[in-house]
Symmetry: C2
Subunit: 263 residues, 2 copies
């Protein structure tokens, strides 16, 4: 995986590779460019999704929306939302029914696509400050956990807050907070530092999504709101139909990380 | 009017006065508390409104949403959205059909209420820094103008950016920018400083909404994005039904201005 990751491609080139069938976590790809979580729903559920995002902006920062039937837009110029993500998850009544690498066969003209900010955006800034990003260094997907915190519901949608976890050396936790708080459009500052039990997380070694990471002595688990949150709401609220990205397998967008940074 | 404005009431008390029939501009009322623009639409138009807001966050910062049929919520605790605004405008097919002080007779169970941030929120901060707010000092409604700038459309909704204007002494313009940029949830920094013609505004003395203000020698017209923007989109896009606040006649909310301030 490291050999692949060492080749720096543009977002359009990364999307082309995924369109061609490559499947991998997108962490670290197209550095400097924002990645996005996906949630695609029929038009009649679209208001509930957008309202859920508005009421839960930390886990669900909206970067862009493609209107019903639209398959491309400025965040994926020249791309196609049905083919350009490495892997998707298709839900019917909240149950996973397929995990395809292309959703052309599932596409309908009434589908609305939401692209939500992803914490991969601030990982480059962490690394640039010498803060290690464990899952990148260990070549695995970021670990994500359902928590006991509830999101603000919206219409038919409700569910738990999902968080991603990065172990941070204790003497760099304050720096990690400071750096990520400059990115409010991509989850921003951590929602929780240390003490997984207080979030209802029993075992850090058994994430609900993604892969476990090794936590070195002296490192503290730090938790950020995660864009898989609406996907957990889909699993719990059981709308008739929805398509999401497979966790960690994001849309690589043309937007620059710096576009989402505040002073 | 100044005698009335001198009495400092709580947001709930102000709403009670409006519920009782008082009609006036809300500028300067319940200092320290946020005021909100209203747009109320049937459920089938709600996604377009929320998407319009998401795509045009400077004029349309969403402070809260009441689901279909809901008439109260945390921003107006104990209040009633149908009676607590001093004056409303009812639109059918984009045409104004009534300007009531109570919309109980127009209420339907499928109506969704959007409350959007209002620049009245940062006027207290301007005044606290010794920057005069002309329309408050002159006891009139803030002047608002349709501009030649187009908003990003969303579904069936499109329209021009509407701005509010405050004349600012030339040596305080930089301060006014700095202060208001700390309030991104209530329109934030100005969209334009000076030169109304570049915004397509022919005559500052003839605002499209609100009242004209006197501009003293040495003052520069400064323009902020305005929450009347979705109302202008309703007038242009002609949805079957919508209710808005009468410009300048806002919902006085329980939220504190400070809640919307960033460092």
């Amino acid at each position: 995986m490291s050999a692949v990751a060492d080749v720096v491609l543009s977002p359009a080139q990364e999307r082309e590779r995924f369109r061609g069938g490559l499947v991998r976590s997108t962490a670290g790809l197209a550095p400097g460019h924002a990645q996005a979580n996906l949630i695609i729903v029929p038009r009649e559920l679209a208001f509930d999704v957008l309202l859920f995002a508005q009421r839960n902006p930390k886990p669900c920062p909206v970067l862009g929306v493609l209107d019903a039937g639209e398959t491309t837009g400025p965040l994926l110029s020249g791309g196609d939302i049905r083919t350009d993500v490495p892997r998707y998850v298709v839900y019917e009544d909240g149950r996973e029914v397929a995990r395809p690498t292309d959703i052309t066969a599932f596409w309908r003209e009434d589908l609305v696509t939401f692209m939500l900010g992803c914490s991969f955006t601030f990982e480059g800034a962490l690394q640039a400050s010498g803060i290690p990003v464990a899952h990148v260094d260990q070549g695995v997907n970021v670990p994500m956990y359902r928590t006991s915190r509830r999101c603000e519901p919206a219409g038919s949608l409700s569910g738990p807050l999902v968080v991603s976890m990065r172990p941070i050396p204790a003497d760099r936790v304050a720096d990690a907070v400071r750096i990520t708080s400059r990115y409010p459009a991509v989850h921003g500052a951590p929602v929780h530092v240390g003490d997984p039990a207080a979030l209802g997380i029993g075992d850090l070694g058994a994430p609900d999504f993604g892969d476990p990471v090794r936590i070195a002595p002296g490192e503290i688990p730090v938790f950020w709101a995660c864009g898989v949150t609406p996907q957990a709401a889909v699993m719990e609220s059981r709308p008739p139909f929805a398509i999401c990205h497979a966790p960690g397998h994001m849309l690589v967008t043309d937007a620059r990380d710096a576009d989402y940074q505040v002073p």
